[in-house]
Symmetry: C2
């Protein structure tokens, strides 16, 4: 849902057309998150279908300008103040990788952890270098780089914590005892488990 609302935000300043919005999105995100042009057009079509934007139908191969509607502005205002997804945390590919690796025969989880740790360290060094060389006044880029560096740092801390837990829990592939434990409060919040 990010792109959809980001386009709304871009239109809330002034009417714009497709390619222009692609360029603006990338500029605003410090040129770090490329946005596919095709997605801009299809997303704009859906936004128009839903009444959140309207187009000046310049049919003749020219630029087709979109503007935000009052409904779109309301939707945008709501989105800006709504925290994303209160339910389960997003599925984290790296966490899944480590968790399932624990059960795969012939795989050393600790090695998997170390491989990824090394890679994350390299990534942090690369982003740090980019941050150092960045134009000082570029607030957008600085914010994006901050976010990525904080995130990568948390990944490293998790990998180290996981390594510690595994070390403490016994060095081998300990077969989980499959105890029938009480389910986590939370989780299972209406998602699936619908009484049908």
């Amino acid at each position: 849902m990010s792109v959809r609302h980001a386009l709304l935000a871009l239109l809330s300043e002034a009417p714009k057309y497709g390619l222009q919005m692609r360029d603006e999105f990338e500029r605003r995100t410090g040129e770090v998150w490329p946005l596919n042009v095709g997605q801009v057009y299809t997303t704009l079509q859906r936004l128009e279908r839903d009444g959140l934007v309207a187009s000046d139908g310049e049919g003749e191969g020219a630029q087709k300008s979109y503007r935000i509607t009052p409904e779109g502005a309301a939707e945008l205002a709501t989105w800006l103040r709504t925290p994303p997804d209160l339910s389960s945390p997003p599925r984290d590919e790296l966490v899944i990788k480590v968790l399932v690796a624990m059960g795969v025969p012939g795989v050393d989880v600790r090695e998997v952890i170390q491989v990824h740790r090394r890679h994350v360290v390299e990534l942090m060094q690369e982003w740090t270098r980019i941050k150092r060389d960045a134009v000082p006044g570029d607030l957008s880029l600085a914010l994006v780089l901050d976010a990525e560096l904080f995130r990568l740092d948390s990944v490293i801390r998790w990998l180290d914590a996981a390594e510690g837990r595994l070390r403490r829990a016994g060095a081998t592939n300990a077969p989980r005892p499959a105890t029938s434990k009480p389910p986590v409060e939370r989780a299972r919040r209406g998602r699936e488990r619908v009484t049908r």
Copy 2:
């Protein structure tokens, strides 16, 4: 791509059938990440189509058992040691929200930041409580909770850093000067920009 490979990992221990894999996936991830059953079946179909798993065709309405193929095992081994996506960092909805909010007229970015900060603090408290009440021996759950808490902590640190940057950069919606700066080295790595 997480689910696809996670299913491969589950099958690498022993042949299994659909619902069983849903349950195992959820158990292995500490019951925190619900997995849709339908997705299991469609993903298994795609895996079979790609030759990574094979099924014992128990056609008679009974359980349909899948097993991993040598190609599947190879694919799994590769995946476990391959760090996810070396190119741009994943698009972060919260970061996008703050970045685009800077340009939306009538919106106070600082307030947006504070709203989300409060929410993240609440989330951390909730997960911390769950962690405290969790069964001590549950390694999977502990790892998932660790990951989420580290992640949320990094989000808070980013929000605070962003607040600081905004404060320093001038309290208002500073219109970006649209300077034509040199593009970030990195980014634009073959994605889009194909010479056609």
